[in-house]
Amino acid sequence: MAILQVNKVSKLFGANPEQGLQLLEQGWSKARIAKEKNITVGVNRVSFDIQEGEIFVIMGLSGSGKSTLVRLLNRLIEPTSGEILIHGKDLRKMNKEQLREVRRKKISMVFQKFALFPHRTVVDNVEYGLEIQKVDKSKRREAAMKSLELVGLKGWEEKMPDQLSGGMQQRVGLARALANDPEILLMDEAFSALDPLIRRDMQDELIELQDKMKKTIVFITHDLDEALRIGDRIALMKDGSIVQIGTPEEILTQPANDYVERFVEDVDLSKVLTASRVMRRPETITMDRGPRVALELMRERGISNLFVIDRSKKLLGVITAEDASDAMKNNRKLADILITDGPSVGPDTLLNELFEITSMSKVPLAVVDDTGRLMGVIVRGAVLGALAGETKNEEVTQDA
């Protein structure tokens, strides 16, 4: 079951939000409601499910309602209508104490401008969430130290926040959110205030942390590159509504409408598309065959090399037509001409990294999974084709 379910949640600002809601249902536009009724539609009947352990990115330009939306998820802003279910329990039906309990134990938040308490030391900041739960001093100190170590700030405990650089301050913000050991992390433009290089580092570290801790993360950003880098799924917002929800690839390759298409048209695909996206079905042969069979296969398919695999599809190496024909003449076996140090990459390798590898290697690039099984092959033409916007996914197959 999804950890967080959002069903038709809206937030309207103004004297009579209920009326605005009815008008929305009747099909009035956001602009018309604003003009004629003086009601601002912040979030317009938004629905999505977030799975446990997922990084769900909500992306949109400023004014799209993304920051309002994330604050509805822990009721820092009260929704006008809709359901927000955490583990199936409706947040909107909770009383103050229940809500406080959820904020203390289940959902933590990281803020755009860090929102560190300037009068508290780093470690006291990190402890805050536990302190207000009256966790005893030594226990919460221990949790805070662990949390600080996790974000790489060991040794900085006793500093004041303003003695730290922006990147470090946001690490403190992250440590503070993690100290409560929440299930869900809400990150509101958490890296937007940082320098591009530091932002990149933080994104990598967040993904790493996520691998380790398996938190569910709702990440708000206005930066498409950031969304594509860290998001498992992305919800694109415009004017308070969600325009499209999908994986980064889906957003890029199957934009739902003109707006999304315009949004993503400048994206450098080489930084988004992965090896699994452009790989082709590999031609293979097992070790027990002879060079003659191999040569025949290559001739048939019009290719100059073959991957050699064992019975469990594990990649053993590659052979070339030239070597095979020599071997046939000299009566040698496949094992004698097997090239075992050919390049191979994982399925999540980005295209821009593939360029270098393919250009340096004579034999084609193998794509293998974690267990060493051959998944596909990368030919240079396919990489260029993908960048040119070709997306012939049907040629790609997972089982080689």
């Binding site: 820092l76 406080r100 904020r103 203390r104 938040m109 401008k113 739960q133």
Partner: protein, 277 residues
């Protein structure tokens, strides 16, 4: 159009309050009188020289060598001029008035910060209190609390409390929205938010308010002496009415020394706290 009988309305209101709340006023009077007396006894307990040494040590601990010298020399001069006991009673009155102002003013300021409707009532009342000539509310103070030090304290509080309320409210409202949001997001109760986030951050502003309150109540001592509050203010008042320019200067100088010491002490107490943190 006949004149609105505002004056007689106010008169009868004051009379009515005097009748109805007399027990209440007596209780307040009793408390204030004893608090002032307590402070005076406390300050008069050590020998002046010992007291001066104590003050100098405090000034030194606040990390201000010039202030240490000024405090020692200033108070020695007061003692030498023969205004020691009067200065101590004035100090007691000022401290009592400041204490009451803080006890009432800080919560009122917090309330005004939290509630728009409260601040809509409180702010105009503060304007009224600060601009109404101080002499005017000396009279009802005397009606309710008779002559002496108590109406002096009451008048000082009315005159001096506005900065504490205003700056408490300002200090809390100045705390950035993101920080209060963070406090909420981690599940703080409103009390935790107030005491762990808002008040500590409002502290510099709040302390500036308290400092102003102390200064204003000190500036009331001469006026308070007109209704029988003893102390250095009474010396000034007497000197003025008897046209004794030299004596007036001496007593006035004592007020100035006390004012400067109080001001620097309250300013530095907070600063040194911040340094220590």
């Amino acid at each position: 159009m006949p004149k609105i009988p505002l004056a007689s309305w106010v008169d009868s209101l004051v009379d009515w309050m005097g009748d109805v709340f007399s027990g209440f006023f007596d209780a307040i009077s009793f408390i204030i009188e004893n608090v002032v007396q307590l402070f005076t006894d406390l300050f008069m307990l050590p020998h002046p020289y010992l007291f001066i040494v104590i003050l100098a040590v405090i000034a030194y601990l606040l990390g201000r060598l010039p202030l240490t010298l000024f405090t020692a020399i200033g108070f020695l001069l007061i003692d030498n001029l023969g205004y020691w006991s009067q200065t101590m009673s004035t100090l007691s009155l000022v401290i009592t008035a400041a204490l009451i102002s803080v006890i009432l003013g800080v919560p009122l300021g917090i309330w005004a910060a939290y509630s728009k409707s409260a601040s809509r009532v409180i702010i105009p009342v503060l304007d009224f209190m600060q601009t109404m000539p101080a002499f005017v509310y000396l009279l009802p103070a005397v009606t309710f609390f008779s002559l002496g030090v108590v109406p002096g304290v009451i008048a000082s509080v009315i005159f001096a409390i506005p900065p504490t309320i205003r700056l408490t409210r300002l200090g809390i409202n100045q705390v950035s929205g993101e920080l209060t949001e963070a406090a909420d997001a981690f599940g703080s109760t409103s009390g935790q938010k107030l005491f762990k986030v808002q008040l500590p951050l409002a502290m510099p502003t709040l302390m500036a308010g308290i400092n102003q309150t102390i200064m204003l109540s000190l500036s009331m001592v001469v006026i308070a002496s007109m209704i029988g509050a003893q102390g250095i203010g009474a010396e000034v008042y007497r000197a003025v009415t008897q046209l004794q320019i030299g004596k007036g200067f001496e007593a006035g100088l004592a007020v100035v020394i006390l004012a400067i010491v109080l001001d620097r002490f309250t300013q530095n107490i907070f600063k040194s706290k911040k340094r220590g943190a």
